[in-house]
């Protein structure tokens, strides 16, 4: 295969597209549509993922103090923790308050704890630390662990566990959906290319009968598939980007209403779109080429 042949193949790949405009348009539309859905899902998953991570980490941290920490140590500790970057509130919860709370949570069975009072109380004193932004959580946890007076750092709870599970589930389901849709795109594209090839089976036959080798027939189709795939993915990314931009522009309203929950924050355009572009270029190009290859194979058997 010399350079001249390649130029010939690429030229004819493009020419095929231009000559069969109806078919090509249909193919690009199918690819585009599949990839738009793919892009949409990707955008949602990527955003949800980040959001959920934020929710997960935007927990209150409980620092359990060692027994025998004096009041003065305690108040200096409270001041120190308050001064850490990202901390916006530190609340002291005495072991007595904690016991009360525990009793309350147990409700009916609160009386089980009636044996615990005063010195008997098995619970430690603790600080409830509230954090401004999720980015600080890890640093604060690390710092807290280094303080000798602090016995244990606990930043999980039933709710946190549930949210974690939810996040994991959404991520999983999302990824599953992306996989399914990639498959869908593959099937649609391969169908489209198969139809294109099918509708040109006469042409393929003619080429064979005048002495064209299999690869000579194949290459223009493969390149055609590649071009269609890439075109579809570029357009799809464009459409998704436009849609996302529109959403971003609108998101100020949503943020106004729910922003204080701090979880509905859309990722910036370029960050998300890079993923989408990569994924759809990859899927588009691969599937375009594969679909062509598979489709031609059958009709080359003459």
């Amino acid at each position: 295969m010399n350079l001249r042949s390649w130029r010939f193949f690429v030229y004819h790949g493009f020419q095929n597209i231009l000559r069969n405009r109806v078919m090509s348009l249909a193919s690009v539309t199918a690819i585009m549509v599949a990839l738009i859905v793919l892009g949409l899902i990707l955008v949602i998953v990527v955003n949800l993922d980040v959001m959920m991570k934020e929710v997960e980490s935007k927990m209150e941290i409980t620092l359990f103090l060692k027994d025998g920490v004096t009041d003065s140590e305690r108040s200096s500790l409270e001041k120190e923790i308050s001064s850490w970057q990202g901390v916006y509130d530190v609340e002291f919860i005495s072991r007595h308050q904690a016991l009360e709370e525990w009793k309350r949570q147990l409700g009916d069975k609160g009386s089980l704890l009636d044996g615990y009072t005063g010195e008997n109380n098995p619970l430690p004193d603790s600080f409830l630390v509230k954090i401004e932004k999720p980015e600080y959580v890890n640093t604060i946890v690390e710092k807290a662990k280094e303080i000798p007076a602090i016995e244990e750092v606990n930043y999980s709870s039933k709710v946190a566990e549930f949210i974690e599970w939810l996040a994991r589930t959404i991520r999983l389901v999302g990824m599953g959906l992306v996989a399914v849709l990639a498959g869908v795109a593959a099937i649609i594209i391969s169908n489209t290319v198969r139809l294109t090839v099918y509708s040109r089976r006469r042409e393929i036959g003619i080429m064979k009968y005048i002495g064209a080798t299999d690869w000579f027939i194949r290459w223009p189709f493969i390149i055609e598939g590649l071009i269609l795939g890439v075109m579809g993915s570029v357009i799809a990314t464009g459409v998704v980007a436009l849609g996302y931009k529109f959403l971003l522009d609108r998101s100020s309203y949503i943020n106004m209403r729910w922003g204080y929950l701090g979880i509905f924050r859309l990722l910036p355009l370029n960050e998300v779109m890079l993923y989408v572009l990569e994924a759809s270029l990859l899927v588009g190009a691969c599937v375009g080429v594969l679909a062509s290859c598979l489709s031609i194979r059958k009709h080359l058997r003459v």
Partner: protein, 228 residues
Amino acid sequence: MIQFRNVTKVYPNGLCALSNVNFTIANGEFVFIVGASGAGKTTLIKLLLKEIEPTSGSIIVDDVDLSSLKRKEIPYYRRKLGVVFQDFRLLPDRTAYENVAFAMEIVGASPKEIRRRVPAVLSMVGLGSKAHAYPHQLSGGEQQRVALARALVNNPSILIADEPTGNLDPVTAMEIMKIINLINRRGTTVIMATHAKSIVNAMRKRVLQFRKGVLIKDEQEGGYFDEP
């Protein structure tokens, strides 16, 4: 050299299109294949082109048994043949020029060579002015001549033509026959299936006549024999 040895072709639906056909064509010969409609002429040509396989018997071209050809070798074998198909088989989305040029591109001819040779061959068959028309913009006879030009453009060592004058008026047909005859004189083997009685009778070449798949006549300098 082309040899058919006990070639029988039975189509999947049970129809016997050729039965036990034997003949040998030497290099440089000019042979007419004649016979009534459905006698098996096109089937013979399809066998020669390895478009279909014989049910039994063997076909040998230049000492190679076609049944022993590997898949990869078939295209190279076909390039030895220039074929005018009964149904033309032009690529519908390419112009006359491009259809002919395509046959050269396939064998890897240089663009320069293509630009030189294609117009020459097209004007040889009388289509110089129609080079840039698509097949659907050409009359039946013009399409047939494009098919002939495509068959000739690579100087094949064997020219196979199925009814190459079926859509041509007598004058144009005679001109085409002159061209084919010239090609033959330059050493190309010519195998031509035809119904054109006047042409066969005028040319006085070897005639193979078929009736319902059976070779009923093989005559040097023969004529078209009307069956009862």
